[in-house]
């Protein structure tokens, strides 16, 4: 599987690799990529995700729906000319709102996942590397956070501090690091016994350097898979918070908020207030789950077809 050293960058002595063989790592990632792209569901998932990113972030440049000004004359307009997906109770354009709402959902999803994986990686790596009483203490803290009902605490904090993309991301991410912490601790426990870690330690690497340069890079596969699921879960969480009415406030909006206000008109037959946004949430979460599953399969050497 050697791809030849022609593709390697010239050797930079100051940044020489300290553990493992760079060539091997590179082809390992390439194998994983090949495995990933041969998974049809994964490709569909990436397609859906890319579509939603473009739709939400580039869409507003091409489609100018009225998402800010109330216009009661055209309230509850069904889909038609001028409003491809109709309008809501205030005459606000649903298609435009879907784009801005999706921006918030995706931003919170990715940022919360980033927060969660950062805290999780630190706690997991420290617990796994140092072991002993530190490990026990950190894992009990993790157990405590695992048993605290996630949605309840997030709702309480969102009620108090919600209302912005940043605060919601911090709240959701701050209570989602338990699973990555456990996973990364498990990885670190096996990696730390490997020879290159011993070599690095012998060469004088401190704990922090070991974590940063050796343990976490080698746990990257596990982390990438987990981040994907974290994004999906965070998008779901923010949808729950918004659906219960404790999410972002006007003029900011997310998909959960939209659904929450649409649900009130379920019996009136205003389907365009509910089903488009519901489809957006489900498709995005499903796409991320597809990608996560495929990534897990492609990273795990044992599951790989040879």
């Amino acid at each position: 599987m050697a791809t030849g050293h022609a593709s390697l960058p010239p050797l930079d002595v100051t940044r020489a690799p300290e553990g493992g063989d760079v060539g091997a790592v590179r082809s390992g990632w390439r194998l994983a990529l090949r495995e990933f792209s041969s998974n049809r569901l994964a490709v569909v998932g990436v397609g859906i995700l890319v579509f939603f990113v473009i739709f939400c972030f580039l869409g507003p440049f091409f489609y100018h729906g009225n998402t800010l000004q109330a216009n009661l004359i055209s309230a509850h307009d069904p889909p038609g000319a001028g409003h491809p997906l109709g309008t809501d109770v205030n005459g606000i354009d649903i298609l435009g709102q879907l784009m801005t709402g999706g921006q918030a959902a995706l931003e919170i999803g990715f940022f919360a996942a980033f927060v969660a994986i950062t805290i999780g990686a630190l706690i997991g790596a420290v617990a796994g590397l140092i072991g002993g009483i530190v490990d026990t203490a950190l894992m009990r803290v993790t157990d405590v956070f695992l048993s605290v009902p996630f949605l309840f605490v997030v709702l309480i904090l969102a009620e108090k501090y919600g209302a912005s993309v940043l605060s919601l991301s911090l709240v959701i991410g701050g209570f989602s690091w338990q699973v990555p912490a456990r996973l990364i601790r498990g990885e670190v426990l096996t990696i730390r016994e490997r020879d290159f870690v011993l070599a690095a330690r012998t060469a004088g690497s401190g704990n922090w350097r070991l974590i940063r340069r050796h343990l976490l890079p080698n746990a990257l596969g596990v982390m990438i898979v987990n981040v994907t699921f974290q994004v999906a879960d965070a998008i779901l969480a923010v949808a729950y918070v918004g659906f219960l009415g404790f999410g972002l406030h006007y003029p900011n909006i997310d998909w959960g908020d939209m659904l929450s206000s649409g649900t009130g008109y379920l019996t009136d037959g205003y389907w365009w207030l509910i089903w488009p946004v519901l489809t957006c949430i489900v498709l995005t979460v499903m796409a991320l789950n597809f990608i996560g599953d495929a990534l897990r399969d492609s990273m795990d050497v044992r599951l790989r077809r040879r």
Binding site: F152, L266, V282, M286, F290
Partner: protein
């Protein structure tokens, strides 16, 4: 085994103490005293300080925590000032309804998911397996409210067979009897869990089917039906015990959303309403009770697993 159980019990108690400290401090930091809500906006600082002093809210945090925990251990969950009622009596009014909804959801989910997973594993990669896997995947990616809304649209609006509002009766027996009102909420909770459980049941059954003792059973000529019934089902069901324990937080969350969606007067809806009123004694107590429920549930699941699986007993 006794040593294992004692150790497991010890960790649970430590975790419970940690949870109570964390939740108490968190809510105390957000909401130090209900004085403002009780006395109203016109109360001045001196009045508030006096109220805090007479109701114990000016004591050091540690002291407040200890007295709160002392109350909890004696069955006093606090006092809801906005409902003018003890939290315990608020819970007592509603706990049966939530227990019925979530309990039925959980039991039905297990009853449906076990055979489903076994069927999928036995007919692995068949058309039926693929269809069920895709369905589980869609359900799994679906927020509880999305599923609930679809069920309401189909079974209560498009075809008005069932009610889109859950039973409003205060009597648990009337609630249980009102199947037209309760079927959709229960189905919502059930289907969400079925998606998760059947995925795990399928993969654990596939693992078991690859074991040597299954090969032996087949080699001695046992009909496939008996291989599945006698040798696979019980072994493949073991991981489900742990999974049910782990799914309890999701069950609590699902219960909250479902009660909100179907306007069912249970604990979840009480939590939601208290959130709107910033009724912190209720929020604190319910979050704590929920956490205890999760910890105890996981403990029971672990003990049940050691009873059910002799291989663990030796460890």
């Amino acid at each position: 085994m006794t040593a294992y159980l004692l150790r497991r019990l010890g960790t649970s108690i430590i975790v419970l103490i940690g949870i109570s400290i964390f939740i108490f401090l968190l809510l105390h930091a957000i909401f130090p005293s209900p004085a403002r809500d009780v006395l109203g906006l016109r109360a001045n600082n001196a009045q508030i300080a006096a109220w805090n002093a007479s109701h114990g809210f000016s004591r050091p945090v540690v002291e407040q925590y200890l007295s709160y925990m002392n109350g909890i251990l004696h069955g006093n969950l606090g006092y809801s000032y906005s409902d003018n009622q003890t939290v315990a009596s608020l819970f007592a009014e509603r706990v049966a309804r939530s227990a019925y909804l979530s309990g039925m959801g959980l039991v039905l989910a297990v009853i449906i998911a076990l055979p489903l997973g076994i069927f999928q594993a036995a007919k692995r990669n068949s058309l039926g397996d693929s269809a069920l896997t895709s369905l589980a995947f869609i359900l799994y990616s679906m927020p509880v409210f999305a599923l609930g809304l679809i069920l309401i649209q189909v079974f209560a609006l498009s075809f008005p067979l069932l009610s889109f509002e859950a039973s409003q009766s205060t009597s648990i027996w009337t609630v249980i009897g009102d199947w037209r009102g309760m079927l959709l909420p229960i189905l919502t909770l059930t289907l969400i869990s079925v998606a998760l459980f059947s995925r795990y049941m399928r993969s654990s059954s596939i693992d078991v089917l690859a074991q040597d003792y299954i090969k032996v059973a087949r080699a001695k000529g046992l009909p496939e039906r008996l291989v599945l019934m006698r040798h696979m089902v019980r072994n493949a069901s073991l991981p489900m015990i742990t999974l049910i324990g782990l799914s309890l937080p999701a069950l609590l969350a699902g219960n909250l959303i479902t009660e909100y969606l179907f306007n069912f007067q249970g604990l979840g809806l009480l939590f939601f309403e208290s959130l709107g009123k910033a009724d912190y004694p209720v929020l604190l107590a319910y979050t704590l009770v929920g956490a205890v429920f999760v910890v105890v549930g996981n403990l029971v699941a672990d003990i049940a697993l050691t009873v059910a699986d002799p291989r663990i007993r030796l460890a």
